[in-house]
Symmetry: C2
Subunit: 243 residues, 2 copies
Amino acid sequence: MKPAQRLFVKTDLAIGSDVSLDANQAHYLANVLRLPMGAEVLVFNGRDGEWLATLSAIAKKGGTLTCVSQTRPQSNGSDLWLLFAPVKGDRTDYIVEKATELGVAGLVPVLTERTIVRKVNQERLTARCIEASEQCGRLSVPQVWDIAPLNGFYEETPDDGGIILFADEGGDAITIDQALASNSSKIAFLVGPEGGFTPAERTRLRACNHIIPVTLGPRILRADTAVYAGLALIQSAWGDMSR
Amino acid sequence: MKPAQRLFVKTDLAIGSDVSLDANQAHYLANVLRLPMGAEVLVFNGRDGEWLATLSAIAKKGGTLTCVSQTRPQSNGSDLWLLFAPVKGDRTDYIVEKATELGVAGLVPVLTERTIVRKVNQERLTARCIEASEQCGRLSVPQVWDIAPLNGFYEETPDDGGIILFADEGGDAITIDQALASNSSKIAFLVGPEGGFTPAERTRLRACNHIIPVTLGPRILRADTAVYAGLALIQSAWGDMSR
């Protein structure tokens, strides 16, 4: 039977190594899932692949898993980043959850001229990334950066061949498939706030050679919808949307 | 300047015709947007294209718009349907909103063996469809059906050449691009509940010639994420994801 739970941990993983559980993890395994001693759990740390481990000690404030065998070797996903203007309410939480499921390497909240939400709770968003990574079977957890002004991310041409695709409502924007016809080593997908980029921002973005305006179709998508559609299309054209 | 608001209405639209506003619409235009008499609004009814109209009367319990000129002729979007098992909390509302933005013709909530949410509020979901249609620039509002058992939708092969793509975690599922390599007149995209289809359901689905299991990549997506990714990929491969 498949283990009931996958956990992200920080410890190195190897045959026989012990993994300490924090109080939350111990509580969840013992009291929510009611796992008995010896129960199987999958663990990953973003470096050593995925391991089958068994519950070898449990107490109120912690517990221990012991690694039994590696179930999957470490592999790195696409070098795909999401730059996004945070939006109101729970939509930012969903953006973080779904970008994690869609395989981003990292999430960068950006301040644009029309960004209304000017702060993010980096710790809470990271917790959401960890939970989504545990559930979706990823072998790593995306990095969540603190919010920073957008222009710091694009005004210098990257020396690693990276490109930025930005969701744009301009009439000349090309499709994501067209934009990815030539290979890139690293892609960032940029989605502006509700209300979009200002004309001045669009002019500055479009003046950069490594930034490509892309269309997401004839309808005007909300910012969160644009994130989901764009990431799915990028993974399909360039990354890993097949099994 | 672009009109501040688009409204879905039921009346026929033609030059000079009056459009009655209900109390909610009148309240929204007069008290929330504070539009003055003569202000411009866009209206559509799913049949006569989009029209520029001006506010010609306003009162507490209603008001009137008068059609000035057609801004877009009626066009029909893709014949793309979403069959989905409703999920808990606000995730079903978001599914409805985003499927509307992604251009579905209709939404069909289905009961599967593991569907936990067994009822939907059809009126509330329709209101969400209308709001999303107004905002995203669609010329029609998707139909929302009442919830019904899944097997009623697939056990007879449709005579209109329609196919059903279903999000499946089986190892042999093909990509959406591969599934849509041959033309279809009508597509339904089927997403099961959290926990997926039962083995018996999968066997029955896979026994139908017009039903194709498709993969959404190596990660296990939540039901709502699968809806967003699948619809975006279908629209890109088959429908209207370019401008």
